[in-house]
Structures are given as C-alpha cells and as structure tokens.
C-alpha cells in the first residue's frame, strides 16, 4: 500500500472549534440555513425571544435567548468543523492550479505558447522533463516518468505512456524525464484537481439522496411540533395556565429534532472526508451512500485477492528422491533466477532446509524462453532444468533416459494434483555428468491469497454482501482460489463483456454492484456499476466512468469504501434515533414546569425533582444545546462499526442510541438543574 497523504497535524478538538468559529458565524445567515429547516426554526425562535427579551427583560427570557442562539451556533459550528478538516488538503491541491505556460501544438505541427487556463478539451500540448502538465489528458505520444505526489501523496514517480491503460495524466503533476504529447480532456475549471478541491472542501457538496430524505422527514416532524406548541398556547389559555411565548418557543426547540438537524450535514461532510483520508475521492455523494447499500462486490483476483505473483509453496519429490536432493536442485536452479517465482523458490527452500548452503558459483544461468519453456542452470558437474511438465519430460527423454512407466505415472499424478488445486506445477530434472537426466520432483507454485482476505470476505458475508472474483484463469484454477479465499462466486476466463453482463444481470435482480477497474475496457462496466472505483493509475476514460477514484490504486480499497458508506448511514440513523428518543425526558422536564402553577398535582410528573419551573425549562434548553457539541466528535468520527449482520448491528445501536437516548437526557437535565438552580433569579 502506498503512503497516505501527510495526516493533518493532530489538533485538539478545542482548537478545531476555535478555527471553525468564523465560518460558523457566517453560516448563521438564514439563507445558508435554508438547507437545515430544523435549525432555521431554532433561529427564528431565537430572533423571537431576543425581541421579546428586549421588550420585557427577564432572567428566564435572556437565558433562553442566549441558549437558543448557542443551539444554532453549535449546529453551524459542527458543519464548519467538518469542512475545516478538508481545508488543509485543498490548500495543497490549490498549489497545483497555478497558471503554467503550455506549449500547444497547432494542427499543422507548429508550437505556440498559451496559458494553461486557456486550454480547451481536444487541444494537444507538448510537455518536457521538468515541466508541469498543464491540464488533464491522455498521453498520445511518448513515454515519461511523472511525479504525481502532489495528487496521490505517493513519492515514487510513475510511468505514463501512450496507448494502453497508463495513459492518463493529471494537470499540475510534473514530468521528470523524457517528453510526452498530451491531448487535453478537460475544460478549464473542470479538471480533476478542481473537482478534488471542491470535494475536500465540501463547498460543492451535493446533499446525498438519503440525507435529503431525512431532512424532509425532520422538516415534517418540526412542522408537527410547531402545530403542537401553537395549539398548546390556546389549550393552556383555556385551562387557565397561560404560557408566555418564550416558554413555548423553548418547548418547541426542545421537541424538534435539533440534535440530528444540527449534525446532519456535518455527518455527510465527515463521511466524504473519511474517504478522502483513505485517498479515495468520491465524485458524488450518491456513490458513498450506494456503497453502504452494495449487495455484490466484483473483485479482480490479481492484486485484490492474491498477491499477483505465483509463489512456491511446496516441494514434491518423486518416490526414491531424497527431499534434500530435490531441494538442492530446486535451489541451485533458482539462485540466479530474478523472477518473483524464482525468488520464492529460494525462500521456500531456505525455510524448509535452513542448513542448505549453495552458492551455485561457476554456473551459467539458462533463462526461460518461450521455445524451451524451461529455465535452469548449467554447472560444471551437472545440468538442472525446471519448467512445464511436458517440456521437461521432452528434455529428459532427449538425454537418453529410459522410459519408466511407474515414474511417469507418479509424475503425472503429482502434476495433475497441483493443477487441480489451482496451482502451477514446475517439474525439476537433473542431469549429472552428462548421463541421462532424471526427474526429481515437482515444485508447487501457487497464487498466494492475501493474508486476512478470507476474514474480510467472511465479514462481507455477515453484512449480506456477496463477493464475486473476476479472473482470466481457467475454471479449475479459479475455483481452487475462490475456495481458498472464501469468495462466494467467481467468473473465470472473464472478458470485459462478461463482466458487463454479470453487472447487468445482478442489477436486473435488484442488487447494487460495486467494482473497481483501471483500463479503458473497464470503463463501460465502471459506468454501469452502482459503485465504480477507478484506479488512479488507470486511463482517463476509466476515471471518468467511475464514480470514485482511488489515488492509491489499491483494489482492496473497495471493501473499505463499503464500510465507510455503511458507517456514514449508521451514524446518521443512530443520531436520529438518539434525537427522537430524547424527547421523552424533555417532556418530563418541561411540561410539569409549565403547568405546575395551574395544576399543582402535575408535580408528580416532575420525576427528576427539578428545583423550579424556570430552572427546569432552562436546563432542558441548555441540555439540548450542549448535546450537539458533545456529539460533534461522534458525528465527525462516525459511530463505531464492526462488520456484522443487520440484526446484530440494529440490536447494538438501538441499545446504545435508542435506550441511551431515552436515559441520557434525564441525567443531563438533572445535573444541569443542580447548577442552574444556583443562579439567582432562576
């Protein structure tokens, strides 16, 4: 895995709040608050009590007014803090945007100097070593190493070349060597970096569908409570228990779902931010939500499920061959072999026979060639070959070795066994002193499944997500690896069309599909998938088609993306439940306080034994405001999430946020009352 962006300097929560304060104050503008109807109602209430307190000042009125303003402020503060986290990153990205001179190639081949901001999609520019690439595009000629660290945080340069799947370049990155010709693909102001900045800053954040829906519901709940409180004014009058509008506004603010109303947008921004911290850029909020809903994960075998290179896992000597003998031959033949397979054989032999010390000095390395399909080493006293079974058998016969039915049969049993398990058999043979060669045994090369991947797939299964492995391997190999990795299904000998068909088929069944890809031929599938994560190393076409880009180009990230999506939704649901459950306690605090003068018997409902009506109402309002601040860290961090089934998640979260939401305000309001009742005049 690549290095991540330099983590933002850890700041205390207090200092984050201080930095966010100016932004929070700006957000008090009612036009900004329109998207948070609950908070808009609180602000309207605050304006009302302010006027009322100026007209006829009272300790109670002033207290309520101050805390209503604080309630609104805490809400905007939460959003501002959430946005602040992306600011530092945006600043570093912005440095990429400085205007650079570009050399545009005219259709006739001549070069003109223009500013990078004047480039349009379709323009062709020439970039040389040491120059900044003036805009997003595809390399159409040449190959170059490019420093993309400013975008990806990865310091090692990457190769970008025309044609193939590594042709995309990002504006602002620097060419380190050679010269490339780039066709610009983005209009000014709509480049990849522009979008990244907008995303991490949250300035262009589109509210996600579920967030909008939740906002609608919160608005309805708010309207209901406005009607409740409005009618209560008249009912109270009838009952001879006249209530001041200040008290009624206090009741209203306590009843409407302010907690979730204040934190909703912060939760959304923080969710995107969590993705950004893992170097994934979601091009739309919808995709983040869809990630939580994903039913099927399509994962490429290579790089995601396996390490990508086959590794030696076992030495299988033939009958009559000593284990040590076979090991020595395998080691000698691989000492100078720099391929990953070769190195893995050396590692394996050293692990199995730590006493074996061979230098292989004086030998000549015979490299693998497509015609011989063997590699090996020629030593003064012997020749060792390893390779595909048929090729080695042919070589052995060519040295005049006698046909032996038993050893042939034994060999074919071993070879078939390895093949059937999904591995690749590598046969080792040795010829000593020019005599006839003999087969020593078989090296089992296998695709090594990444550590811990099986457990992650088990987690996915628990969450109800089906994993499908996509591979170009044949069905036998694919099945073996699928079983070992614990994926639910596999698609062998897959072509891009097969992948597309599979996605369509799953979607037709009503399931949401996530996949990742990098090549141009992945683009249609990435576009079709509900969550398509494009690798940053991939082509521009793939990046455009997907709705997320992984800057680390790590296909395993798909699983993280799903978890982040789920965590975002859970956080939203948990705080909504908490907010609604809080109402019960607030009723017990405020209603007896409002009516105890007219109906002394209602004091029975004052279960918290709050000291006075004024203190009770003020305590509820203060609790209502402080709980927002208390929950800001949770809304930014997201609630704790452990992959498990829906039932387990629900039970746990209901216990913590539902039942907790019922109980917490009783304690909180009581504690606040103990403090507030000390204030003279309350």
């Amino acid at each position: 895995m690549n290095t991540h962006h330099p983590a933002p300097v850890r700041r205390t929560f207090g200092s984050q709040l201080r930095e966010a304060l100016p932004g929070a104050l700006r957000k008090l503008d009612p036009r900004e608050l329109v998207h948070a109807p609950v908070m808009l109602v609180v602000e309207a209430g605050a304006v009302f009590t302010t006027v009322a307190s100026v007209v006829s000042p009272s300790t109670m009125g002033i207290g309520v007014t101050i805390w209503l303003w604080l309630t609104v402020l805490f809400g905007t503060l939460a959003e501002s803090v959430a946005e602040g986290r992306g600011k530092a990153q945006a600043a570093s990205l912005r440095s990429l945007q400085q205007e650079t001179p570009a050399r545009r190639r005219r259709p006739d081949g001549s070069i003109e100097q223009v500013a990078s901001t004047a480039l349009k999609a379709g323009d062709v520019v020439v970039v040389e070593a040491g120059e900044r690439i003036p805009g997003d595009g595809d390399v159409v000629e040449g190959v170059a190493s490019v420093d993309e660290s400013a975008v990806t945080g990865e310091s090692a340069p990457v190769i970008r070349e025309s044609g193939g799947d590594r042709s995309a370049v990002t504006g602002g990155t620097v060419v380190l060597s050679d010269q490339i010709v780039v066709r610009i693909t983005s209009e000014p102001g709509h480049s990849f970096v522009d979008r990244m900045i907008a995303l991490v800053e949250g300035s262009e954040r589109q509210r996600t569908p579920n967030e909008v829906a939740l906002n609608i519901l919160l608005a309805f709940l708010t309207i209901i409570f406005v009607v409740v409180v409005g009618s209560l004014y008249y009912v109270a009058d009838y009952s001879g228990a006249h209530q001041s509008w200040i008290v009624l506004v206090a009741l209203l603010v306590c009843l409407i779902p302010t907690t979730i109303g204040a934190l909703l947008s912060a939760i959304g921004i923080a969710g995107m931010d969590r993705l950004v911290r893992r170097n994934v850029l979601a091009m739309s909020g919808r995709a983040v939500e869809a990630a939580g809903d994903v039913d099927v994960l399509l994962l490429d075998k290579t790089g995601t499920i396996t390490y990508g290179n086959r590794q030696a896992s076992e030495l299988l000597p033939l009958h009559g061959v000593a284990g040590g003998e076979m090991a020595r031959a395998a080691l000698l033949s691989s000492l100078a072999d720099e391929t990953p397979e070769g190195r893995s054989i050396v590692t394996l032999v050293h692990r199995l026979h730590s006493d074996l010390e061979e230098s292989g000095a004086g030998g000549t390395l015979v490299e693998f060639s497509a015609t011989t399909r063997m590699s090996g080493i020629d030593l003064p006293d012997r020749v060792i070959r390893k390779g595909a079974a048929s090729a080695v058998a042919q070589w052995v016969r060519s040295t005049g070795a006698p046909e032996s039915e038993t050893s042939d049969r034994e060999l074919s049993v071993l070879v078939d066994g390895v093949s059937a398990s999904g591995g690749t058999p590598l046969v080792v043979a040795e010829q000593t002193d020019g005599g006839p060669a003999r087969v020593l045994g078989v090296i089992h090369l296998k695709d090594v499944v990444k550590q811990g991947i099986r457990e992650r797939f088990a987690d996915m299964r628990a969450m109800g997500i089906r994993t499908v492995m996509i591979t170009g391997d044949n069905a036998v190999t694919a099945r073996a690896i699928a079983e070992e990795a614990g994926v639910d299904d596999f698609l062998a000998e897959a072509t891009p069309e097969d992948k597309m068909a599979l996605i369509r088929q799953e979607q037709h069944g009503g399931r949401l599909v996530a996949m990742c890809g990098d090549g141009t031929n992945d683009a249609p599938a990435l576009a079709q998938a509900d969550v398509g994560v494009a690798m940053n190393t991939g082509t521009m076409a793939a990046k455009e088609a997907g709705n997320m880009v992984d800057l680390d180009s790590d296909p395993t990230k798909l699983i993280d993306v799903v978890e982040i999506g789920k965590q975002l939704l859970i956080t939203r649901g948990a705080l909504t439940t908490f907010s609604v459950a809080n109402d019960v306690a607030k009723y017990f605090a405020i209603l007896p306080a409002m009516f105890v003068v007219a109906f002394p018997e209602l004091d029975v409902l004052n279960v918290m034994q709050l000291s006075s009506p004024e203190s009770a109402i003020l305590s509820a309002v203060v609790f209502n405001a402080l709980i927002i601040v208390a929950l800001i860290p949770l809304s930014l961090r997201g609630v704790k999430y452990r992959p498990s089934s829906a039932v387990d998640l629900l039970r746990r979260n209901i216990l913590v946020y539902g039942v907790g939401g019922l109980i917490a305000p009783f304690l909180g309001i009581k504690l606040l009352d103990l403090v507030i009742s000390q204030i003279p005049g309350v």
């Binding site: 409570f225 008249y234 969450m463 089906r466 859970i570 829906a646 998640l649």
Partner: protein, 554 residues
C-alpha cells in the same frame, strides 16, 4: 366481589376465538384481493356499474375512483337527510338541518359514524337502511380496498404504478366478506335477543300507568355490520349500551369479537399478499401489543378507581351498564377506540379520568391497535415505513421496507400522512376551545371539559366516531368542524396511502440479504411499538397533560 377472574376470562375467550378466526379469514381476504376470478353476481354488478374489473388501475385512477365513489355517497346521504320528510319509511321524522345532514353524510361515508343525533328520534328506517347501513358496508369496503391496494403495491415489482382495481376490490369486499359474515352475525344476534323488525314504534303502557313509545327496527342487521365494519353508528343513541342492541354479556363479547376480527385478519392477509406471512405476523403483533396494553390499562383504571362509591361497587360503575360491569366496559371501550369503531357499551364520559385518557390515546395513535377495517393496516404500515426510515439506517443501508427503497418521494408521502391527523386534531381543538360556539357545547369546565372537546375532535379526525358524551355536538359549529375533521381525516391519508402504493408498485423489488433490516422479528416489533408511542403518541402529550392527565392526578 372479585371481578379479576371474569375480566381475564373474557379476554381469554376473545383471544381464543380470534386465534381461530383470524388465520381463516386472513387467508380468505388474501384470496379475495389477489384472485383473478369473478363470481357471476360480481360480473352482474360490474355491468351495472359499467366498469371493467380486470383493468389494472394506475394509482391516480384508483384514488379518483375512491374519491368519486365517496363523493357520490356523501351527496346521496345528504339528499336523503335533507328530503327525509318527503320520503317513505321516515316514521314521520322531519328533514335534517343542513349542517346536520352534512355531518351525517360525511360521518357515514368516512366510516366514522359520529352521530350528533339520537338515531331513534331523528332518522327513519329509510335513512337507517338505505343510507347508513349501505354506507356501513361500502365505507368499510373502501377502507379495506385501499389497504389491499397498498399491500399489492408492496408486493409488486416494476408494475408501473398500477395497484389493482378499486371496483373489483369494493364489490368483492362487500359480496365475499362483509355481507356473508354480517348475515351470519345478524342471525346470531337475533337468536341472542337483538331486535329485528320493520314495525312502527310500539306504544306500551308502563307500570306507573304512563305510556312509552318504543322504536323497534332492523337493529340486528345494522348491529352486525356496525361492529364488523368498525363503523360504530348505533341504531339507538345509547348504542351498544342499549338492551335492544346488546342485550347480554355474550352478545357484548360477540360484538367485541366482530369489531376486532377483520382488522387483525387484514394484517394476516397482508402477510400472505406480500409473500411472507411473518411480515403480517409482526404487524399483527404490534397491533396486539398496543391493544392488549390498552385493555389492561383501561381495565385497571376502571376497576381500581379511587373513591368510596367505586370501591363499594367494585369499580367505577357510574355510566356503565350493570349487565356488563366495568371489565366488559373497559374491554369494549379499548377495542372500540383501538379499531376506529366508535360503538360504545358504556358512556366514555363516565370512564375514569385515566381510562378516558387511554381511550383517547388509543385513537390518537392513529387507529392502529388494531385499527379500522383496512385503515388500521395501512396506518400501521405507514408507521412501519417511518420506523424503517428512522431506525433502519442503523444497519448501514439506506432504508427499505419489504424490498422497496424509501427515498425522498416516499418520505414526503409518509411525512404528510403522519402530519395530517395530528394537525386536524390540534388545530381542531384550538379552534373548538377558542370559539364561543365551541365552548358553548362543553358540559363542564376545566380539564374534563377539555377532555370532552379533545375527545370529539380526536374521534372525528381519526374516523372513530365514539363520543365522550357531555358534549352537545348537534350545533352548526360542531357539526361543521367535526365534519371537516372527518372528511380530511379520512381521505387525505387515503390518497397519500394510494400514492405510496403506486410508488412502491412502480419500484424495483430488492431481494433481502443478511444486511437488510429484518422487519419480522421481535426487535422490529418492539421498535415499531416504540415509534408509535414516541413519535405519534408524544405529539399529544401536552394536551393530554392538561386534560385527562391533570384530571387523573387531581
């Protein structure tokens, strides 16, 4: 006198009877609402109505059919009321006043059956039979049709907003469900001593030498559908407290059974229609939980009533029929308010303060325990969707119910639904106690007076129809206000429900996985009960505090 034994005994008998009847009737209902076949008599009805019963209606067409059919019902009833003196079988009663005819017409078409008048001294047999009894059948059938459309909407996959055929639902409900059961029930009631005749009022000489005019009539036939269709409009003013309507404890229990059997069976049928009986079971469990809680609380409130007289009588007997006693009255009261029936076998004004509070709260929940025929099911399902939306996010997926995603449009409809009735009740009560004409109707001042008015607007807005008593509601002010509450309280939610059914029918059905919020388990049952109590119930706590709660505590 220990009445605890019989109190538990009658509930046990009732629950036993329901346990047998509900699965049978539920299966029948599911068949009625999904079968493609028509009976011969139904074909004849469709020819008369000039409708195509096989046309799969778009939700807009379906709701226009519901509204159009109901409008015709209102106009017809209004006309009969206004022209009563010119019509046959009027028993010599005068025409109803305009506000009274409006209120009655709306009341019966909305399945509320709020009665501002005394049946035996205001309306003749023609109005009772052709107007009110017909509406007792069809208004109930309309509610059931809408619930069926909603269930089908949830069950369908990519059906382009089509939710079934209203006319087929209506005719089938009447012919295959309500008529046969009502017929059997009426016969049972007649056998048990309920009056059934078409005679002129009989003049009898009393023991003291005076004369008394006693109105008989088609009581048993109306009684059966009154309970079965959760209508509640009694032939007599005293409703099921009248010995001609409800002569003995067994008829009383039978009537409670009748009013509960369809609402619970609808939940069972729902499970079958959506292809997962457990879903229906969960909905039924929540209904049963809320109903059981109300019965227990109300029974306790009546039997443990404080005061010397109640303790001597073994409970708060004032205003209750001695034939039944307070336990049977409590059972009836909690069932009638939980089902939007509104029939009463005791005067709710005479319930103890907490008892009256429970009855009121039962209605305020939106008639879901187990609710009116049809309306109980769709009301509960709306809350189930709300629950899924509020809490369902906590499993880490965007909310879905029975494989249908709940997005912005859906939540608009659900939000409007849960907003509608509370607004009617709360605005209604504010208007009622502010206007002089409203206050004039109240019999008492203080919290009890508030309870009277609150009960009336709650009952009307939730289409219950039971009256608290004490309120003089037959005035132009109250007739108009309550008429509006009934009309909007019925049809606003209905249109929203049908629209949502259309949305669901058009949507993709998503297969469930281990990551989907299960909506058939005890956890969800508890959650839905909690949401009903906290989200809907809490809305009314402030006014309840000033009414029944203040009164209870004094």
């Amino acid at each position: 006198m220990s009445a605890v034994g019989p109190a538990i005994g009658q509930v046990a008998v009732l629950v036993g009877a329901l346990a047998v009847a509900v699965p049978l009737l539920g299966r029948h209902l599911a068949h009625v609402y999904t079968s493609p076949k028509h009976l011969a008599v139904e074909r004849a009805s469709y020819r008369v109505l000039r409708v195509d019963p096989d046309a799969d209606q778009h939700w807009r067409t379906y709701s226009m059919s519901v509204l159009g059919f109901s409008l015709v019902g209102v106009l017809a009833l209004y006309a009969i009321g206004r022209l009563q003196e010119h019509l046959p079988l009027s028993l010599g009663f005068a025409a109803l006043p305009a506000d009274g005819a409006w209120n009655t017409a709306v009341s019966f078409v909305t399945n509320t059956n709020w009665q501002w008048y005394s049946g035996e001294s205001t309306v003749g047999h023609l109005m009772q039979m052709s107007g009110l009894t017909v509406q007792n059948f069809v208004s109930a059938a309309v509610g059931m049709a809408v619930a069926a459309a909603f269930a089908r909407g949830l069950a369908r996959n990519l059906a382009g907003g089509r939710v079934g055929n209203f006319w087929a639902d209506l005719v089938r409900t009447v012919l295959r469900v309500l008529l046969p059961i009502a017929l059997v029930a009426a016969v049972v009631l007649v056998l048990l001593g309920v009056v059934q005749n078409l005679l002129e009022p009989q003049v009898v000489h009393t023991l003291t030498g005076g004369t008394q005019s006693i109105t008989g009539g088609p009581v048993a036939s109306q009684e059966a559908i009154k309970e079965l269709g959760t209508n509640g409009g009694g032939f007599y003013n005293a409703n099921s407290a009248h010995p001609f309507e409800n002569p003995k404890p067994f008829t009383d229990l039978f009537e409670v059974f009748l009013l509960l059997v369809i609402p619970f069976s609808m939940a069972w049928a729902f499970g079958i229609i959506v292809g997962d009986k457990r879903q229906g079971g969960a909905i039924m469990a929540v209904m049963a939980l809320l109903w059981g809680g109300a019965v227990a609380l109300l029974t306790w409130a009546e039997m443990a009533a404080p005061g010397t007289a109640p303790q001597l009588a073994g409970g708060a007997m004032e205003g209750k029929e001695v034939r039944f006693g307070e336990a049977a009255s409590a059972l009836f009261a909690s069932s009638t308010t939980g089902t939007s029936t509104g029939a009463v076998n005791a005067m709710h004004d005479s319930l103890t303060a907490p008892g009256g509070g429970v009855a009121m709260f039962n209605m305020m929940l939106g008639e879901i325990a187990p609710g009116g025929v049809g309306s109980g099911l769709y009301g509960m399902l709306m809350l189930a969707i709300l629950t899924v939306f509020l809490a369902g996010l906590m499993v880490g997926r965007t909310p879905e119910y029975l494989g249908k995603k709940i997005g912005q449009r859906e939540i608009w409809l659900v939000g409007s639904y849960i907003l509608a009735t509370p607004v009617l009740v709360l605005v209604g009560i504010a208007v009622a106690i502010t206007a002089a004409d409203g206050l004039a109707g109240l019999q008492e001042a203080g919290p009890h007076g508030l309870s009277e008015a609150l009960y009336a607007v709650t009952s009307a807005s939730n289409n219950n129809g039971s009256a608290f008593g004490g309120l003089t509601s037959g005035t132009p002010f109250w007739n108009t206000l309550l008429g509006l509450c009934m009309l909007f309280g019925r049809f606003l939610p209905m249109v929203l429900v049908i629209a949502l059914a259309g949305r669901f029918a058009a949507a993709h059905h998503l297969p469930p996985s281990a990551g989907t919020l299960p909506t058939h388990q005890p956890l969800f049952v508890a959650l839905l009960t909690g949401v009903a109590l906290v989200v809907v119930g809490l809305t009314f706590v402030p006014v309840l505090v000033l009414g029944p709660i203040a009164e209870s505590l004094s």
